[in-house]
């Protein structure tokens, strides 16, 4: 991992976002925009309570609202009214999404100008004064995070509050979170804490709890491990997250065997999927 900024005492820092304690207040979104001086987006009709809808060049934290319905067992006699009377909102889950600060960062790998760099905290940031707005990073992000600013064309995304970190402050979103759903700290400590948290939830009967982007075997790690990882209780797709992800460029190395070939095809397919998703978004 190439570190662009050297500072001997620095260590990898990250986010652990625990969706099981999020109350959907969106304080993180607002704190992020305030600290980073990001504009409000043009007003859009909201999807249920979600008016910001997605991460973008001006929305670096986004609270996703996931609704799941519990519909009664289908019965032939059930009419629409009866079905609606029985249908209950089973869960309304909130997840504060953010740049993952990947170990294998597709955006950084694709950047031809060196605008995207890895900091001494092993986070990934865009140097806006270097960025030429080519946009290669956008389809290279398997999570659809990085985006170009519609006004100046340059790429923008979460910096994990690099400026605050340099001064020993925690990022604005984590600071604002009233329930500690967003936790910030040294990466290794966070992973250990998160594993303990999953175990606690399993003991409590929430067997569907798992970590997304941390604590996996090396070969299964998403994008080599995510600097900002999540505790989820639903399949990743429910949150708009890919089940598998890596930097497209990581798949371009020499292929050792047949398994590798197959894996490369799968990865290419995924990369295309991510590209397509990003393309749809860019429109």
């Amino acid at each position: 991992m190439e570190i662009a900024v050297q500072r001997p005492e620095a260590q990898r820092m990250g986010f652990f976002t625990d969706t099981t304690v999020c109350i959907g207040c969106k304080a993180c979104e607002v704190a992020c925009k305030q600290w980073n001086d990001l504009p409000a987006d043009d007003l859009r009709a909201s999807l249920s309570y979600d008016a910001t809808r997605e991460l973008s060049a001006s929305t670096w934290r986004h609270v996703r609202f996931v609704e799941t319905l519990r519909i009664p067992e289908p019965e032939p006699t059930l009419n629409f009214v009866e079905a609606a009377l029985g249908a209950q909102l089973d869960r309304w889950v909130f997840m504060s999404d953010v740049c993952k600060h990947c170990t294998h960062a597709g955006c950084l790998d694709a950047c031809p100008t060196g605008a995207l760099i890895r900091t001494e905290f092993e986070t990934v940031i865009v140097q806006s004064d270097v960025c030429n707005g080519c946009g290669y990073c956008v389809p290279s992000c398997p999570f659809g995070v990085i985006d170009r600013d519609p006004y100046d064309g340059r790429a923008a995304k979460c910096t994990l509050c690099y400026d605050r970190l340099e001064d020993g402050l925690e990022p604005a979103c984590a600071k604002a979170c009233p329930t500690d759903s967003i936790q910030f700290g040294p990466y290794e400590e966070l992973v250990e804490r998160a594993k303990g948290r999953v175990a606690t939830l399993h003991e409590r009967g929430l067997e569907g709890a798992y970590l997304y982007g941390a604590g996996d075997e090396p070969q299964d790690q998403l994008a080599g491990g995510l600097g900002a990882f999540f505790l989820l209780t639903e399949p990743p797709e429910r949150y708009g997250l890919p089940a598998h992800a890596d930097s497209p460029i990581q798949q371009n190395g020499p292929i050792a065997n047949a398994t590798g070939v197959a894996a490369a095809f799968v990865a290419a397919g995924l990369a295309f999927g991510a590209f397509a998703a990003a393309f749809r978004k860019a429109r």
């Binding site: 109350i23 207040c25 969106k26 008016a51 009214v81």
Partner: protein
Amino acid sequence: MPGLGTSFGRGAATNYQQDFQNADCIWIQGSGLMEAHPVGSRWAMKARERGAKLIHVDPHFSRTSAVSDMHVPIRAGSDIAFLGGLIRHIIETKSYFEEYVVNYTNAPHLVREDFQDTEDLEGLFSGFDPEKGTYDRTTWLFEGMEPPGKTSSAEVQSTQAFTDRTQAGETLQQVPNDPTLQHPRCVFQVLRRHYSRYTPEMVSKVCGIPEDQFLKVAETLIANSGRERTTMLAYAVGWTQHTAGVQMIRAGSIVQLLLGNIGRPGGGIMAMRGHASIQGSSDIPTLYDLLPGYLPMPRATEDDQTLADYVEAGGKKSGWWSHFDEYIISLLKAWFGEAATPENDYGFGHLPKLTGNHSHYVTTLRALDGGLDGMFVMGQNPAVGSQHAGLQRRALAQMKWLVVRDLADLETASFWKDSPEIRSGEMKPEDIQTEVFLMPAAGHVEKEGHFTNTQRLLQWRDKALDPPGDARSELHFVYHIGKRIKAHYADSTRERDWPIRHLTWGYREHGVHDEPSAEDVLREINGYDLTTGKLLNGFGEMRNDGTTSCGCWIYSGCFADNVNQPRRRDPGDLNAPGGSVSPEWGWAWPANRRVLYNRASADPSGKPWSERKKLVWWDEEKEQWAGYDVPDFPPGKRPDYKPHPEAEGMEAIPGSAPFMMMPDGRGALFSPSGPLDAPIPTHYEPLESPVPNELYPKLGANPLGITWMRPENPLVAEGDDHYPLVASTFRLTEHHTAGPMSRNLPWLAELQPEMFAEIDPVLARERGIKDGEWMVIETPRAEIEARAKVTNRVQPLRMGERIIHQVCLPWHWGTFKTNPQGVTGDTVNDLIAISGDPNTTIHESKAFRCNVRAGRRAGETTVRLADVDTDQDPNDDQPDFASKTPHSVLGDEEQA
């Protein structure tokens, strides 16, 4: 908050928000805790992490429901039926905390023989006067109690806080009682009979809650209460804003008393307040009928003309209120200084005297009828935030002048040039004679002072930066107006100007704008020993001979040792036993107690009920009460202390009676002279309800509920089936009350850009309303438009054979916009009639009838009222009361 005051003695939240984490169950009803109080929710979420159960009873599934273990959809306004069902279940299954109930509540007291219950009188209690529409409450008294004398000022005084004062002169420990709870006339048996028909089937039929779900709630509350466990109840304006709002809170209080949860860690009742300092605005009141510290406002009757009469009517012979004279005399000394002497009654005669109800709605109607010259509006936005906002705006147009102090030109200041009534042509700017003075106000970081929050906690904030331009703090504004008024009257010799000339007004000034010292004001509130000039350490040092001064007795001690106690910021060791109390963080009234009635956390002998729920206990060695919190009890009173039958004052309170503000020291299951409308809560339908009252078919709504029968305030007529739906209002995390501060902040505006209405899919299909498209909500007062959110978060309710649909409306939108990225929308309060709870004159906005249709509104929102005949006599300042006498009003915050 008379519901809490009449039940326990003080009208304030019993516990503190950090104490949520010590609860084994958090029961949220009438509150969107997570959405309206996200920061306080931190501790509720911590409780959940420790394994506590969260229950949310609410008409619609919100973010609060999402993080709760159980969401129980309820028909808006049917809460007492649900709570009565819980009371019945707890009694019938013998699940109450018996030792607590027998010793700490008035369950054993015998009620008079001539008391008749709603079960005997088809929904009314004995003593109802159909002509006046009020109760003679004599028959509600305990056996042996005499009806209060003519001098009981409390008859028309606020029940806003603390207990009502009609028990003056009573020493209730002598009430005949039956500790076995078997006597047919003991409170416990009266309660049992009263709720005998509130069965799970009845709950289901009235509230639309399936029986098994109701029973699951009951069992969860019971399983998490008792010696080892505690349940905390949180409510908010979802209970207060009903014509039977006080009774809802009373019913919740009864459940918590039966389960033994009051005065204990992780228990109690959290009245979640809706503004930063709303608790403060009733402590040092913006209310017309109270003086600071919940002393009643004297009345313009013969009984209240002298200090002696006022004290006799207001004080009690037993319990804490025996100190009443010390508090009023010290208050007069704080106000009038050396001019207040024993010879002139300390200036008592110069206080304004109350002539009737001067609450917000009464005053608004008087303005509408041309009976009000002018008004100051500070920190309020009635053109959006008050009920029947269209009527509010029309009333503003009938005055000579209006001073609005706010951050910007919000709806209340701009009604004359931009409002639905201007756009419709009903009002024309050139015809409106009201001269509006908009005074720019400093924001909360641009001024110093303290907030008193939900948990009675005073927290000081320093000024972060100077306000821009001409903007000034409220303190600056009021102080300098006062200074000019005093200068104007300095040479007056007229008797009526005496209070202006002698008002103490000597706060130090600083800075280029002569800002008065907020700390000096707080020192005055704390009070001084005038013989030494030193600040008081607490109300215990106050005297009734004019040698102490104090601006608000319950705040006395907040500046002890000349230290600004609310400015303290030491949380202490949070992990130590009892560490969450954090006594050095800010300062809480009274006497820095964080859990009220905490004597009840110990058993009658003074030992904690359990090690797990330890808070305050009797230390035999030191012969005093000790604990993690400041004991809410006389420090040296032994648990086995028994008063002499002739004892008076605090001497009359036994060592085993934890509710020392009550004359008998006991929590009130039955309230003989508290609320005006019932000694025990009874289910009444909302004023506008689409269903008959299943329990008392002859009655319907609260017989004492206040209505104004005027053509501008039409109610849905009985039998009118044009409005079959139940509407309720709620708040969103992203916006703040009437919205001027949040709707114009782009970062918040983008999160909730549009007024919307949440409806269920069945109703949407019936009316052809599509998700995300426009819909219209209509009442007899107005119609507004909103984006439809068709969602399973709102469920059709099955009530017996009937299916009821509910319409859930956030109320944050109006027309004011300072920022191109700000957002506007129709005002929900245009839809709602003014009405009132008989104890508080708080309106019913949480349950009213409406209809909906697809599309956009036909004209401006309130155009249907443009042509009604509004001719009223402006001198008739309490017009058409439908023979109901309202009694007091809650602070401005509680308006929507």
